[in-house]
Every structure is written in C-alpha cells, then in structure tokens.
Subunit: 523 residues, 2 copies
C-alpha cells in the first residue's frame, strides 16, 4: 500500500508486513459489514453503519496504541492522501453522482443548485470569517485569513450518508431526500473548488491578488472540471450508442469499458491540473442519465452493482481509517478551543446557509411548492461531515506549514467523528420529532411537480416591493433551470441515447435504487 516509509532491502519481509496490515484492514471491513448488518436488522438507529465503522477503527486503533507494536502497525496503515484521492474517493464520488435519480434531482434542480453553490459559498465564507474573528479575539488559535477560508471551504463539504440511510429505512418525503442528497453531492464539488482556489491564492504572491482573479481561478477549477467530466460522460454515451456492444454476448467488454470511463475522466482532469473529484462527479451524473441506458440490460445490472459494491467498500474503509487515525495520530489537542469554536461556527454557518437559501428559494416558488420549515430544519440538521472534509484536511497538512495544517486536520477529524456519532446517532429521534419521516415515499410525488417544467404559476402574488427585483431575477434563473429539463428531453436524450425522450418516466423510483441493495430495484 505504501512503499515510501517501509525500509527497503527485503521485499519478502516488506510484503509480509504489508500482508499483515492489509489482513487487519480486511478483518475490520468484514467486522464493520457484519456489525452494521446486525444493527440494521435490529432496527437500532442510534449506531448507524458509518458510526459502527468509525468505532471499530477507534477501538482497534486504541488497542494498537496500547500494545507495543504501535510503530509497525502505524507503518502498515500509513498511506498518503494520495491513496485517498486516487483510489478511495473516486468510486465514492462517482457513485454519488451515479446514484442520483434524475427525476427528483431535476425537478428540484434550482433549489439544489442554490443550496450547493450559493449556500456552500456562504457557509465557507461565514465559517472562514468567524474563525478569523475568533482568532483575532483570542478565542482560538489565530490562522491567516486565507487559511481560515481554506478551512471554511473544506469543512463545508457535507456527507449525510447516515441521514440518508435512515431516510431510506424510515421513508421520507421525496423532495427532502432529493434536496439533502443533491446538495451533499454538489457541495463536495463546490468545497473542493473553493479549497483549491484558496490554496492557489495562498501559495501565489498575496500582493498581486485581487478578488477578480480569485473568481477566475474558481471558475477555472469548477467549470473546467465540470466540462471535462460532462465531456467524458457524453463521449462514453456516444461510444456505447454506436459501438453496438449490447449484442453478441460482449457484456464483459462493455463492462470493462464502462468501468474505465469514470477513472479516465478523473485522471484526465487531474492531468489537466483540474479537480478529478468534480470531474468524476459530473461524469457519474451524465453516465447514469445517458450512457447507462445504452448498455445491455445485464450490463446495466452489473455496473450499478459494481459501483455500489466498490463505493461501499471504499466508504466503510474510510470510516474505519478515520477512527483508526484519530486513535493513533499525535493530534495537537492543545488546540481544544479551536475545535470547540469551530463546531460552534460551522453550526452557525450551516444555519445561515440553509435558512437564507431556503428563504430565497421560497421567494420564487409557488405556494404549494414552498420548502416547509420542518424540511429546512431537517436539511440544516443533515450537515454531517465525512470523507471529503477528511481528505481535504489530510491534504492541508501538506499544503500548510507551521503546524497550521495539523490544527485544521485535528479539528476536522474531531468534527467528523462528533457529527457522525452524535448527529448520526440522533437522526432517527430528531427526524421523528420533526415529523418528516414516515410520510410514505411518494406522498408528495404526484402533486405540484408538473408546473415545474417551464411555466411557474405565480399563485403567491403579494409582491413585496423590496424583494421584487430579486424575485424576478430568481424566477428567471428558475425558469432556465426548468428549461434545461426540456432541452434534455428534446435534444440531449435523443442524441446521446438510443431511447426517445418520453421513456424517462420509467425511472420514477423515488430513491436511488442502487442504494437499497444489490438487484433489489430490478428483480
């Protein structure tokens, strides 16, 4: 797994050490899956799978810490953030794009984009500014302003995997599910782009920087990566449409090619100096929406199971690793104040993000499609931090000197563990208190969505004079998002897939089927 730290000389010895390390990791993986399964079967929602994996990592790490073999075990587990970024994150991010079911996603497209792009930007800036002010007021360790913004960006990537799995168990409103899931998928892309932009700003000469350049850099990363991802996705769609691989028992070839494309997209973006994560995410969305339907039926079943399997393994592994790492790593616990106030500040930033964006969205939505207050609270509550924040923090250790990266890493790890354990454990209770679960899957599905394509009925006509201009602008944006569905149906789908536009109704599944269990949605 990692060749750089192990001493050279005897490859056999080295291989044996690596063997034992990986063996331990596999045993923890197996244990996590089994424990997670047992807990789920007994409907014990206080310890979701992710929390269980984290705890297993914590316990094994703690045991390894006590025993005197620490150094060697540490070496086996020691992989760089490179391993994370090249091998663990891509399948997870691809899968999150791939398992977006297009219909609820597109019908809430405007709201999701608002939360993910605008909201994440607000949350990053609010967190960064608050952390900087906290430093100025001697509440916490003082970081330079740019580094505060980097921290704000990386900590704004949410990962509500636990909340979503409980939504699925208990059943919830489809729009709420789409909002939580869609926001978390897209805000990863936003957070990583913001982080990279700030990182570039920091490493360049700070005097020559102006706000305009920052915006350009950000657009370069975000739009560039997105275009690369979408481009690769469309290329794959055309390839599978015209190569005629869905006949002839060529499923193995078909699957091999399909599986290589996401990685190709990832590496293409990295090779161009863009963000592979953002790219693979959009490749996932495009490949699911267009390429997927060009596959033969058997290959469709296989690839969705394949990506589900790979991402489950990677995700469980990341949670185990995070637990193990927090038990083993020499963290700078002296900065406990930093951790405490960070948690406070990200909670504030999350609330600012959700409620301000929801206010804007409700301004433009018709009365029957308002995001109700309880959904806003549930969305605010779903702000768990996970793999992406951890991976970026791991990278910040390399990016920042003077131990600043170490402080950010420790704070991020603590935030991830706390949010996963506390929010994850209390989700069931909280969601029931908010009365957003158990509505049945399609309670809100049938009504109100038809008006979304094109014309938005202005049933809520009490125009406040102050918000009026803003509202008109937002509505315009809303309409353009809606008209995207039309472009998709009329031009993109017929061009990139072998089906005609109308048949997309078959994908009416309220929750991504591949999340529910292999083959379940297809049998």
């Amino acid at each position: 797994m990692d060749n750089s730290t192990a001493e050279k000389g005897s490859p056999g010895q080295e291989q044996q050490a690596a063997g034992v390390g990986i063996l331990l990791q596999i045993m923890m993986l197996v244990l996590s899956f089994v424990v997670g399964h047992v807990l789920r079967r007994h409907k014990f929602y206080y310890l979701p799978e992710a929390s269980a994996s984290l705890l297993i990592g914590l316990i094994v790490g703690g045991l390894a810490n006590i025993s005197d073999t620490e150094r060697s075990i540490r070496a086996w587990f020691n992989f760089h953030e490179e391993f994370f970024f090249l091998f663990l994150l891509p399948p997870i991010i691809f899968q999150s794009g791939f398992s977006l079911s297009p219909k609820p996603f597109f019908s809430n497209f405007g709201a999701i984009v608002t939360f993910a792009i605008f909201g994440t930007f607000i949350a990053s800036v609010v967190t960064g500014v608050l952390v900087y002010l906290g430093g100025l007021m001697y509440l916490m360790y003082k970081l330079p302003f740019v580094e505060c913004l980097m921290f704000g960006a990386l900590i704004s990537a949410t990962d509500p995997v636990t909340v979503l799995s409980i939504f699925q168990e208990l059943g919830t409103d489809m729009n709420l599910y789409a909002l939580v899931f869609g926001e978390s998928v897209l805000n990863d892309a936003m957070a990583i782009s913001l982080y990279r932009t700030m990182s570039v700003v920091r490493s360049n000469d700070p005097s020559g920087q102006n706000f305009f350049m920052v915006i350009v850099r950000f657009l370069e990363t975000f739009v560039g990566s997105m275009s690369a991802g979408v481009g690769v996705g469309f290329t794959s769609a055309l390839l599978f449409k015209y190569a005629g691989l869905d006949i002839d028992n060529l499923q193995n070839l078909e699957c091999c090619l399909f599986v290589l494309f996401p990685y190709f997209s990832y590496m293409l973006a990295e090779g161009l100096g863009l963000s592979g994560i953002v790219s693979i995410l959009f490749t996932g969305i495009v490949m699911k929406h267009y390429t997927f339907s060009n596959l033969s039926e058997n290959s469709q079943r296989f690839v969705s199971d394949f990506f589900h399997l790979i991402s489950s393994l990677a995700e469980t592994f990341i949670f185990i690793y995070m637990g193990f790492d927090i038990a083993m790593e020499k963290h700078s616990w002296s900065h406990v104040g930093f951790i405490f106030f960070s948690i406070l500040f990200i909670a504030i930033a999350r609330a600012v993000n959700v409620f301000s964006c929801a206010y804007l969205i409700n301004l433009v939505r018709p009365a029957h499609r308002q995001i109700p207050s309880k959904h806003q609270k549930a969305l605010c509550y779903s702000g768990l931090r996970g793999a992406m924040a951890f991976a970026l923090a791991l990278q910040s250790v390399h990016d920042l000197e003077e131990g600043h990266g170490q402080i950010i890493f420790t704070a991020t790890t603590a935030i991830v563990v706390l949010t996963v354990l506390l929010i994850g454990g209390s989700t069931g209770t909280m969601l029931e208190a908010l009365q957003v679960v158990g509505d049945g899957h399609d309670a809100h599905l049938g009504e109100g969505f038809e008006g979304n394509n094109g014309y938005v009925p202005t049933s809520r006509e009490e125009d406040e004079t102050t918000g009026n201009k803003l509202r008109m602008k937002l509505k315009e944006f809303h309409r353009s998002a809606a008209s995207f569905s039309e472009i998709d149906r009329n031009y993109l789908t017929p061009f990139f897939t072998s089906q005609n536009g109308d048949s997309e109704d078959e994908e009416d599944d309220p929750m991504p089927s591949s999340r529910r269990g292999v083959y379940h949605g297809h049998s």
Copy 2:
C-alpha cells in the same frame, strides 16, 4: 501508484503526474479491449488479445522512449513487484481457480496433478540443470546452481490464456481443455513454491543445507499455503451457509463479504510467511465448489462477473505493462546467448515434462481414456509463459545480486514476449494441424468418464514386468484421486453447502462459463 520515487514537496504536482500516468494506462487498456474485440470479431487468430495488449505496450513504450519525456513517463510507470503481487496477480490467480469447472477438472484430477506437480518439478529441474550446464560449457552466462534452479522454477509457470481463448473460439475436446487449463492453474502454485524454496535455500548458509531440508521447506510453503487457502474457503462456505444472507435483499452485504474472502486468504498466507498466490488459488477452487452455491442467485451472477471483470482488467494491464517495460527497461542485451539457449532449454524441459508425464498417465489409464498423441503435442505446445513468470522474475531482480536477477528478468521478459507473440499467433494454425479443434464441445464428454469413480477397468492387460510395480503404485494414486470425488459428493458438499450431493450435475458446462462472457452462461 508509487510514492517512493516521485519527489516529495508538492502533493498537487505529484498527483498530477500520477494522473497523467494512470490516464495513459487507462487509454492503453481501453485501446487493448477495443483492438482485441475488433480482431476477435474478424476472426483474426494471428494476433490474440494478449498479443495485442503486449504490442500496444511495446509501441507506446517505444514512442515514449523516443520522446524526451522518457524520465517522467518511466516514473509514472514505475511500480514495484509489490504492486504486482498485492494488486494485479491476486485477482488473476483467484479467477483461474474460480473458473475451473469442477466436473472436468475432477475427472482428470490425477492427470492434472501429475502434470502440474510432478511435471513442473521435472521441468524446473531440467531447465535449471541445462542452464547450469550451459553456463559450465560457456554457452551462456554462468549462474550459480541454486540460481539456475530458481530460474528453472519461475520459467516453468505456464500461462496459456491465449491458447485457451482460441480453444473456446474454435471448440475443442473437453478433456484437453481441462488438462491445459488445470495444469496451468496448478503449476503456478508449484512454480512459486519451488521458487520460494530455492530462494530460502540460497539466502541461508549453503553448507548447512541438505536435500531433506529442501523438501521440508517446499512442503511447508506448498502444503501450508494450500491448507490456509482451503481453510479460508471452507470457512467462507460455512459462513454463507449459516448466516442466511441469501434472503432479505442483503445481496450487497453478501457480495462485499464474498469479495473480501479471497483477499483475506491471500493476506493471511502472506502474513504467515507463506505464499498468498498458492493460497488464493485454492481458496478460489474451494469457494467456487462450495461457497458459491450458498449464495443467492443474483449474487452468484454478480460475483462471477465481478471476478471476471477484475481479472480481465488486471491481465490486460499486465500484458500492456510487459510490453511497455521491455521497450523502456535497460535490459542487458549483451546476454543474448542466455536468452537463446534458455528458450531452447525450456522447450526441451516442456517436452520432457509433458511426454514423460503422459507416458506415466497412459500406463495407468484404460485404453479408451489414453491421452492421445495429438493431445500431448497440443499440451506441449500450450507452454506459453505469462504474468506469473514475469512477476517472479521481477522479484528475482530484488532477490539476486550482481546483476543476475537482471539477466533472469531480461531473459524471462524475452521468453514471455516471444512465446505470447509466436505461439499465441500460431495457435490457431497449429491446433488445426493437430486436428484437436472443432471436435465440438462435448464429443468426448459422455463416454468413458463413468469408470473413473472408484474402479478402473484394466482393459489393457499386457503387463510389462518392468513397469508393473510402478503401474500398481500409480493406479493406487489414481484410485485415491477418484475416491476424492466420492468423499466430496458424500461428505464435503452436503456439509459445506445447502445443496445435497446429487445436484452438482447442473454444472455440466464443458468450459468455465465466466470465461465466455458476462452473464452468457446464465441467461
């Protein structure tokens, strides 16, 4: 892919370089699959898939060699034999065990074991002795005797993937297919055990070694690894039999656990200082035979496709890498004599192996089950060298000093490329000349196999007095191999699977279905 050689400092830069390297590899993989597919579709048997991959690697390597970017491309491609042994070989070896169809394998069990164990031992020793004698006679570079035996061992691992794929295309006698496939699967285990034994003998004080200790070491490696593999396989069978995961839409959990077991077996053996390759091979055989039938139907389909996909990718990648490597590496071409005579000697050793073992087997088999001369020739002809020989040679570079490992590596690479290109390209022609293809799949299937279980009719009664004692011994062995099928049917299958013993007839497929294309055998 490799962290140790790239300079530290800027992880972003490093990541970008790795990105471009992996991007290139993915593009070559895609190209290989597409070219292989086009060639197969046009029934162009002179350039099978493996050869095409090798050539693509050679060409890209050659181009990279010409361009001035050589150094950086070399760094991207530079992975240790560790990467091979930990990530590329395990899926291939597991898949070869997993795709053994039990029935033809067990009905030719005695012959396969004779070829693989006894024959590979003969071939290794013959090659080693000839190379040593060649060195003494100044025909080629003189290596120490132990190193000659190591070379003999590693070069005796055959990999007839090309031959087998052409067998499948053209259709051949099922017994011949079982012999070629079974021998190549088991002789990998034998070769690696012999190589490791010799490696231990070499590194220890040579004065204290005697023949007895060598045997003990060999048994330790081979039997120990085999037991570990079989043990893990049986454990998995019991787990899946009693865990009740085949209900309840738990296929994802089921698949995750199933996929982790082979790797667990591999790492367990490595951790114990045994051979992970041998272990994972036997885990594959046991898991296919017992665990597999305890899975739910959907998971069965998924896991066989999964392993097929993973091993196809790894195999293609290895051939590309071999081609790339031979174009890039600074080989010691001064030892061209070594290469020439090695090729001669391994051809002799292969012939000695096949014809002497076939003679022994024919002594004991009844007249209607003799291995005909044309099958012997086809078997002898199928002695291509591939991934395993390459991987062991890569390791020998680390194991042997004074450039001896480099000589062995160069010779092995040359042998692999030549056998894959020449034998692979001429297989179609040769097999048709031998009239062993086009017999139809089950021409020989129905007849003559029933007598194999238990009683062997001694229809060929002209007992030569010299061979008599040997024959009686061989027959005893043959009977014990046959009685293994009975133990399997009466005790092992009922104990480890949820089916009763009779139902194994459903697996009557003459060729491993997963080799033929995803889902093909199941639809």
